[in-house]
């Protein structure tokens, strides 16, 4: 038995003892009109609140609702002390007899979350407790007058003198404040109802409505007291009391009924999930089972390590402290398949969520596969767009290189030739110098064109294949490159080209960023794939997202259904591996 359970049992025992003591006081009272009925009503209310409250407390120890409900029971029983024949005990009983009412309002305000929403609610409740304590003072100070039901009461220990006027003024003032407080609390509760979502309302309804009704009637009873219509007081007070007594039972019934209804919903869900759900069907069924129309599903893509919706679009799960939405993970055979994103209120029903999540596993896995496929299609679409974009970008780059390089040189050359032509006869030496300059310019232009052409597509790659092209690449690199392995046979052209450009880009990055002393390149055929590896002994810590070059390569490789992986632990070199199916 845990400490909490022991404490709760002790409270239950205390409740029984308090009930017994109250019964003894009531039955021995000389001024309570119907001791039998009063005892029965008192015990029923006390024990229902204490019992139900302890049960709720035990179910949700972190939620203060249970504790407050228990407190309502205990504070209610305090009022019975007014049955005492002893003047001082009677006076104390009167002073404490209204506290339960504020505890009850407090309980309504924390329902169902278990805490007050705003700081001023706490101040409001504190004001309520104070008012409940001083509320009976006018009667205790200036006599009960002709108040019904207190003919044989012992005299108040605090009595100054019997003064109807002062009492009426005090009573009226305090009752008015009390009514105002009740109205404010009612307003808070009604606003909460209006703001609530469907599943929230389902949770709120029973307790809120019976509570609101009780507040209304007891408030009305206070109000009528204030204006002095004493005959109405009892009618309103009695209705309020009956409603009050019903609150724990309504709470219990809704708890039990909820379990039954939801157990039914879960078993129906299990049956209907078998009927091969299509788009949105699964979502609707889970939404039905949980009674949350706003429910959404997220699917887990293990390889991408992210969440997507049914259409494969990336989604985010709500943060743990999100005030509106929460998520529950769905697993299948210990593997994460998805998550149900639902109203945060459903957290108060963990058993229901758990059984729905368990029931949804297989169906979610099916839809997850759909989502994965769609995500892949989406990815292909974007990578295709990027390839087109990269193509355009590459053309612009080529155009710029041609324009800034060879073209400018040829223009200058044309000018030099013109000048040389003009000087040919008058100043042959100058003409000769101009022609020499033109020759040099031409050599540079040719060199640039050659490099440009090689960058677009090295002729040797198509002529001689990967081995020769990689050897040429390695020979031109500004660090030693070890060609560890190259396939002896030719591979399909797109694969050779992709592999070549992967190595070229990787070596460019090695030279630019890695601070390496050497690099190793290997291309082997393994399990139906061409596996391209470029490793260096540099500083590591490469960011795979860096540079458009690598991004473009990843697109190029994924266009061939391949994949690129970069391992770059800081200080331990970088290893780029591309696998392309052959």
């Amino acid at each position: 038995m845990t400490g909490l359970t022991r404490a709760l049992w002790a409270l239950a025992l205390a409740g029984l003892v308090a009930g017994a003591a109250a019964t003894a006081i009531t039955l021995s009272s000389d001024h309570i009109p119907h001791p039998g009925v009063t005892t029965a009503i008192g015990l029923t209310i006390t024990w229902s609140f204490i019992g139900t409250g302890l049960y709720a407390w035990w179910r949700r120890p972190a939620n203060r609702f249970g504790a407050l409900m228990t407190a309502v029971g205990f504070t209610f029983v305090l009022g019975v002390v007014t049955g005492s024949n002893d003047s001082v005990v009677f006076t104390a009983g009167v002073l404490l007899s209204s506290i339960y009412f504020v505890v009850f309002a407090h309980m309504l305000l924390v329902y169902p979350e278990g805490r007050l929403e705003r700081p001023w609610h706490a101040r409001l409740i504190a004001g309520g407790y104070l008012l409940a304590l001083i509320g009976p003072l006018p009667m205790l100070l200036w006599g009960f007058g002709d108040r019904v039901g207190c003919d044989g009461c012992p005299p108040s220990a605090l009595l100054i003198e019997n003064d109807d006027t002062l009492r009426a003024i005090g009573n009226g003032l305090l009752s008015a404040i009390g009514v105002a407080l009740v109205i404010v609390i009612l307003a808070i509760l009604l606003r909460r109802w209006r703001a609530a979502t469907a599943p929230q309302r389902r949770t709120l309804a029973p307790v809120l409505w019976s509570g609101v009704a009780m507040l209304f009637f007891l408030g009305a009873s206070l109000g009528s007291d204030a204006v002095g219509v004493n005959r109405v007081t009892d009618v309103f007070g009695t209705i309020g009391l009956v409603l009050f007594a019903s609150v724990p039972w309504v709470f219990l019934i809704s708890l039990v009924r909820g379990h039954v209804v939801r157990a039914g919903a879960v078993s129906e869900l299990l049956l209907r999930l078998g009927e091969a759900p299509g788009t949105d069907e699964l979502r609707c069924r889970l939404a039905d089972a949980l009674g949350d129309r706003s429910l959404q599903l997220a699917f887990w893509l293990e390889d991408k390590r992210r969440w997507v919706d049914y259409h494969g679009q990336a989604v985010e799960l709500p943060a743990p402290d999100d005030p509106i939405r929460a998520s529950t993970l769905v697993e299948l055979e210990g593997r994460r398949v998805g998550a149900i994103v639902h109203d945060v209120m459903l957290r108060s029903e963990p058993e229901l969520l758990g059984s729905v999540a368990a029931a949804a596993g297989l169906a979610m896995e099916n839809e997850r596969l759909h989502a994965q496929l769609r995500a892949r299609v989406e990815e292909l679409r974007t990578s295709r767009a990027r390839i087109v974009e990269a193509g355009t970008h590459e053309r612009r780059r080529l155009e710029r290189n041609l324009h800034d390089g060879a073209q400018q040189r040829l223009v200058a050359l044309s000018l030099s030739l013109r000048l040389a032509q003009a000087k040919l006869h008058k100043d042959p030496d100058r003409a000769d110098a101009l022609l020499t300059g033109a020759q040099e310019e031409l050599t540079l232009a040719l060199g640039e064109l050659r490099e440009l052409a090689r960058g677009i597509h090295p002729a040797i790659l198509s002529d001689r294949g990967l081995g020769a092209a990689l050897e040429a690449l390695a020979g031109r690199a500004s660090l030693p490159v070890d060609l560890a392995a190259v396939p002896g046979e030719r591979l399909p052209e797109p694969i050779e080209a992709a592999a070549y450009f992967v190595v070229a880009e990787a070596l460019t990055n090695v030279v630019k960023y890695a601070h390496a002393s050497q690099a190793t390149v290997s291309i082997v055929r393994r399990n139906g794939h061409a596996v391209v590896e470029v490793a260096d002994d540099g500083i590591g810590g490469a960011d795979p997202g860096r540079g458009s070059g690598l991004r473009g390569l990843a697109d190029r490789v994924s266009a061939l259904d391949g994949s690129i992986l970069i391992e770059s632990p800081a200080g331990a070199g970088t290893r780029l591996r591309a696998e392309i199916p052959v």
Binding site: G447, A459, I460, A472, A474, G475, P480
Partner: protein, 219 residues
């Protein structure tokens, strides 16, 4: 300096370049025996004219890949008396080494741009016609510049590297001496030093020497 008896066949699919080359060679005192637009035509004309030198472009119809190179191999095999000078649009050391790997005799590989530098070009034509070899300086530079781990070339002096480069291009000691403006004796000393530093067996004949140097640079 001209040798009017040197007869040349030119193969290039660009008529413009073919005509230009032809004019240039004729002005420099060569006899252009024939022109060809593709490899097949080239082989036919080489067979018919038995020229001293065939100047061949690497890329020619129909596939525009390496027809010229393959034709060059066939010419060397079938017509040992005809030297081959291959012209390439690209600095592609693999092509050059492939061409020169069997024999460096009567074989050359030059960048196409070189034809504009008339002296270098005609010198190369004469060299291959005379039984020697010619390798483009850019290809040599690439081979020399290749980064190696524990590079033995680092042990060479700057002058020795220059000499090694010129050797790789296929130049004789005499030509190297002329290019560097030193005595032939000095060149011989450099060559001996290079061969011992690189642990190569010294050879006298120019084209064998080129073979050894290239084999070394390639490894």
């Amino acid at each position: 300096m001209t040798d009017p008896s040197l007869r040349v066949v030119i193969a290039d699919d660009s008529v413009l370049l073919r005509e230009g080359l032809s004019r240039l060679l004729e002005e420099s005192g060569f006899e252009v025996a024939g022109q060809a637009g593709d490899a097949e035509d080239l082989l036919r004309k080489v067979g018919a004219h038995r020229p001293d030198v065939a100047v061949v472009d690497v890329r020619m119809p129909p596939t525009h890949t390496d027809e010229g190179l393959r034709a060059a191999h066939r010419i060397r095999a079938e017509h040992p008396g005809t030297a081959v000078l291959v012209l390439s649009q690209y600095v592609e050391e693999a092509y050059a080494l492939e061409l020169l790997s069997e024999s460096t005799e009567r074989t050359g590989y030059l960048l196409k741009d070189r034809v504009a530098d008339v002296e270098t070009f005609t010198d190369a034509v004469r060299r291959v016609a005379g039984g020697g070899s010619a390798l483009d300086p850019e290809v040599v530079a690439l081979l020399l510049g290749r980064r190696r781990r524990e590079d033995p070339l680092d042990a060479l002096t700057a002058r020795e590297r220059e000499v090694l480069g010129l050797m790789a291009e296929g130049r004789s000691n005499n030509a190297i001496a002329e290019a560097l403006v030193v005595t032939e004796r000095a060149v011989e000393k450099h060559v001996t030093s290079i061969f011992s530093k690189l642990d190569l067996t010294p050879t006298v004949e120019d084209h064998r020497r080129v073979l050894a140097v290239l084999a070394y640079l390639r490894s």
